[in-house]
Amino acid sequence: MSDEERTLISDYLLAELPPEQRREAERRIREDPSFARRVERLRSVTTALTELPADAWPEPPATTGEEAERAGKAERQPSERVARPRRRSRAPGSARGRVMALVAVGAACLGIGIAVGTQLGTSTERGAATVTFEALRSVDARDAASASMSAGRMTLTVTHLPPLGASRFYELWLMSSTTKLVAVASFRVDASGHADLSVPLPVPAQDYRYLDISVQTPSRGPQHSGDSVLRAATRT
């Protein structure tokens, strides 16, 4: 098997192929039993990894020098006030924005009742509903934030995020992918990088794989900016 084919299979299983190549891979799976077997062998691994509890993952290695250097470039802004969490109205802009708008409208139509009783699956049942975020980039601290979810509410504690100034803010999301995501709350941190939120969940948290905190700029619309700084797995 060539390196190109191995990468093709991997990209296909990671859902990272462009539509045209994805269709081509699916055609080969249908028509080439040998190729289909190779895909299925590797699919068993990707499926198992997707379902692995968060606490089963090995501890991450120490931050590399390169990452530390990136973290050192994290911006530092003057002190600013803490903004209360809020739900912003979202006008559809891009395709992703339209998806988010539909999700938001759907959640609003279903009302608060859908959120009441929302829990974080088995971790809540075992009394371990708190999840800790990991830095993705531009943040120089681990354990920068943690969240717990119960009875349809999420409590978020942020301890180490850089203040952003007046032109940008942080947004908390529930997400599974770039197309399946819903905004939960907007917030800013105080001069020490601290914020506490307690907000109702618009949708059941267990339906989403990750909690994500992004940096948003109002002028660029309501969709996810793509500038994520912290992320946590919702499933333990």
Partner: protein, 193 residues
């Protein structure tokens, strides 16, 4: 923890670590328990915490597993199966015993049926948890760079492009390493099955 020996495609090859522990178990060497605890303690603890309702139960059952592994160690044959499988199945059995002791005796046919259904659910859950923690152990035997790459993709949900951006590694290299990590893990899973 490291994997000392490559699994082969023709059959499972015991690792040096497994052989070392097996020799000590066969000799009823008390040091065997310490070696098992050091090598497999995190895996067994995680498995038991996910099967049992509280930390104390998990700790109690872990001690039973370590004791039983030492008592029955002479019967473990590394040529027939992996130490990981042997230990996790031992933990599964002791955890199920612990859960059954918590279940009251049935008093009528309806409750008997409900208990049987419940028992099936519990065993299915046990099988899932055992599989997950066997995988967790295999992950811990990967080189740290490979394990971290998989963690960024599957735990943090980063795309390969995002991993490239985060680590400063070229996207093509990330993809090549991702393939290598997935195939390596697949080989380990198939060898330990």
């Amino acid at each position: 923890m490291t994997s000392d020996s490559e699994p082969t495609r023709s059959g499972r090859e015991p690792t040096v670590s497994e052989l070392r522990i097996a020799r000590r178990l066969a000799a009823r060497d008390p040091e065997a328990s310490a070696l098992i605890s050091a090598e497999y303690g995190r895996t067994l603890t995680g498995l038991l915490r996910h099967m049992l309702p509280d930390e104390q139960s998990a700790e109690d059952v872990l001690q039973q597993v370590l004791l039983q592994a030492w008592q029955r160690g002479a019967s473990f044959d590394p040529a027939r199966g992996s130490l990981l499988t042997w230990l996790t199945m031992l933990a599964r059995s002791r955890a199920l015993d612990s859960l059954r002791r918590r279940t009251p005796e049935p008093r009528d046919p309806a409750s008997t049926r409900a208990l049987l259904d419940r028992a099936t659910q519990v065993e299915d859950h046990a099988d899932t948890v055992v599989g997950q923690w066997q995988l967790a152990h295999l992950l811990s035997t990967l080189p740290a760079a490979q394990a971290d790459l998989l963690r960024m993709r599957f735990q943090l949900g980063l795309s390969q492009s995002e991993i490239s951006e985060r680590t400063g590694i070229a996207l093509g290299t990330v993809k090549t390493r991702m393939v290598a990590a997935l195939e390596r893990l697949r080989d380990l899973m198939e060898a330990s099955a």
